[in-house]
Amino acid sequence: MATDLTVAPPVAATEKLPDRKKKQRPRWLAHIVLILGALLMLYPLLWMLSSSFKFTEDIFSQTGLIPERVTTENYPDGWTALPRDFGHYIWNSLVIVVGSIIGNLLACSAAAYAFARLDFRFKKFWFAVMLGTMMLPIHVVIVPQYILFAELDWINTYWPLIVPKLLATDGFFIFLMVQFIRGIPLELDEAARIDGCGHFAIFWRIVIPLSVPALATTAIFTFIWTWNDFFSQLIFLTDPEMYTVPVALRTFVDATSQTPWGPVFAMSIVALAPVFGFFLAGQRYLVRGIATTGLK
């Protein structure tokens, strides 16, 4: 043990060494707890998936995961159950999501570059302001925002949902990016500067290409948050033509006194599927993102 510590670099001493585990209870116990827990956590989701293939009347009598009678009718039924077909709402959601991702990537990384690499007056103050806005509940500013956007005639357009992202209002991503850019060696900036690059060239040709992991985290989280967002879309989009997926989904359980659970579950699965997809594709970035900034 002592020799280990002297040979190993200081970092190694803080890492977990296998010895610690030798006196622990058998691992199968931990595995059983974890597997049971995971099943309990996932059961509602799996049950919803299975129920989307059941007849509505069966949903209320079958608690199991294997449908006794399988139907795929719920998907076409749900797709066309609302005034416009569901593809229309998906399109509205996608426009907002893509606009938000572009906005956050450009605006937040530019702001982060200024905070991480440039000097200007009251930088600490502005940085503190930025951190403060991270904690700001949207409910506090929604009324004046609504009034502003109503004045601009932007209610029932995509703009109230995209423009704030173009203006770097998601402080989380600025913070994430500042942390990341600070980790990029300054020597690279120096070298580029000697080669004649100004700040814009350094930003665009050095910092951006090297920040791909942080940018990916930003894009994935922006996708999931915007796709799932309900509050602001409910407020800014009241015309059924402009409904996004969550707002349209809500009219299912709102409008009809008798909820058609089969089709509703089918469209809920459609609404959740892209999130699962991004989750599986981008797990690496997600975990890193939460570990550095505590995003949810």
Partner: protein, 321 residues
């Protein structure tokens, strides 16, 4: 300047001593375009501050002293909105509902998160898989689809009651339609999303040097003692971070309550979350002045809680050396 430009780029970056002509040139260039550059990078952010975040905070401060319904000009009414607020039983109800929700769900959620993080931290096989499974609900817990699912599961003929009837309960309550239980179903939903703080705990546990545990165990400390005297103090900054974050998140819960109660906050206002009440006043009745007063009060609460958390942290958070 021209002499340095004649040298091929590669030679320049290698051959010249630092502080040479090119350094001077770049410094000059920075001086020329320098002062404006940061503000160009920050221009969108400043615009956002003015129109989307800080500006609206100031605007809602003004609006909270007015009577305004989007038609005509805001009419100054002084403290009337605040007066009304403190006479409004639904305002108190919404505060009560939100506080119960936060105080009950956040500690349970964090306890689950820490418990599972500690199990996962033992270097088990399949860590990444378990972590993903437990994290998944955090990503979708606030979505409309999940709220709809919750409404079914906890409905009077929902999944839970089918199971309960199967095991012999004759008349289980209709959870979401029963004022005594409706809030409880939303608390369960929030606890279900313990994956996000769990991942943060896991990262924190990794940072605790193994030698502390070895020293403690040499001194004869058992597992429980090690947890109380090594893990908890060393993890306290992370616990604190999670506490602040989850408290603020929980205070802003809206979607789940809106969907489960059909936008009413019912039954009997038992799920009338603060944000839901604000929405009803602002965008149901277009009572923008009153909604702004509610918004400012929310800002004070969130700010106050954060401050309390920070002050309390001085007494129990251990930041090492």
């Amino acid at each position: 300047m021209s002499s340095t430009l004649d040298v091929p780029p590669r030679e320049r970056s290698h051959g010249e001593a630092p502080g040479g002509a090119s350094r001077a040139a770049s410094r000059a260039r920075r001086r020329r375009s320098g002062w404006l550059t940061p503000y160009l990078f920050l221009a969108p952010w400043f615009a956002g501050l003015l129109f989307i975040t800080a500006g609206p905070i100031a605007a809602s401060a003004y609006l909270s002293f007015t009577d305004y319904s989007l038609i005509g000009a805001p009419e100054w009414i002084g403290l009337d909105n605040f007066q009304r607020m403190f006479d409004d039983p639904r305002f108190y109800q919404s505060l009560k509902v939100t506080f119960i929700y936060v105080v009950v769900s956040v500690p349970i959620q964090l306890a689950f998160a820490l418990f599972l993080a500690m199990i996962l931290d033992r270097g088990l096989r399949g860590l990444a898989l378990y972590r993903s499974i437990y994290y998944l609900p955090s990503l979708i817990g606030g979505s409309v689809a999940i709220a709809i699912l919750w409404r079914q599961i906890f409905g009077s003929d929902g999944l839970l009651n089918q199971v309960l009837r199967f095991v012999g309960f004759e008349n289980p309550p209709g959870w979401v339609s029963d004022p005594d239980y409706a809030l409880g179903t939303l608390i369960i939903l929030n606890v279900w999303t313990f994956g996000a703080p769990m991942v943060i705990f896991l990262a924190g546990l990794r940072q605790i040097p193994t030698m502390y545990y070895e020293a403690a165990s040499l001194d004869g400390a058992g597992k429980v003692r090690q947890f109380v005297q090594v893990t908890l103090p060393l993890l306290s900054p992370i616990i604190f971070f999670n506490l602040v974050l989850q408290t603020i998140n929980a205070f802003q819960t809206f979607t789940q309550a809106f969907i489960v109660s059909g936008g009413t906050g019912g039954p009997a206002d038992s799920t009338l979350f603060y944000t839901l009440y604000l929405y009803q006043r602002g965008f149901g009745n277009f009572d923008m002045g009153y909604a702004s007063a509610l918004a400012w009060f929310l800002l004070l609460i969130v700010g106050g809680l954060t401050a309390i958390n920070f002050i309390a942290a001085k007494y129990w958070v251990f930041y090492g050396d």
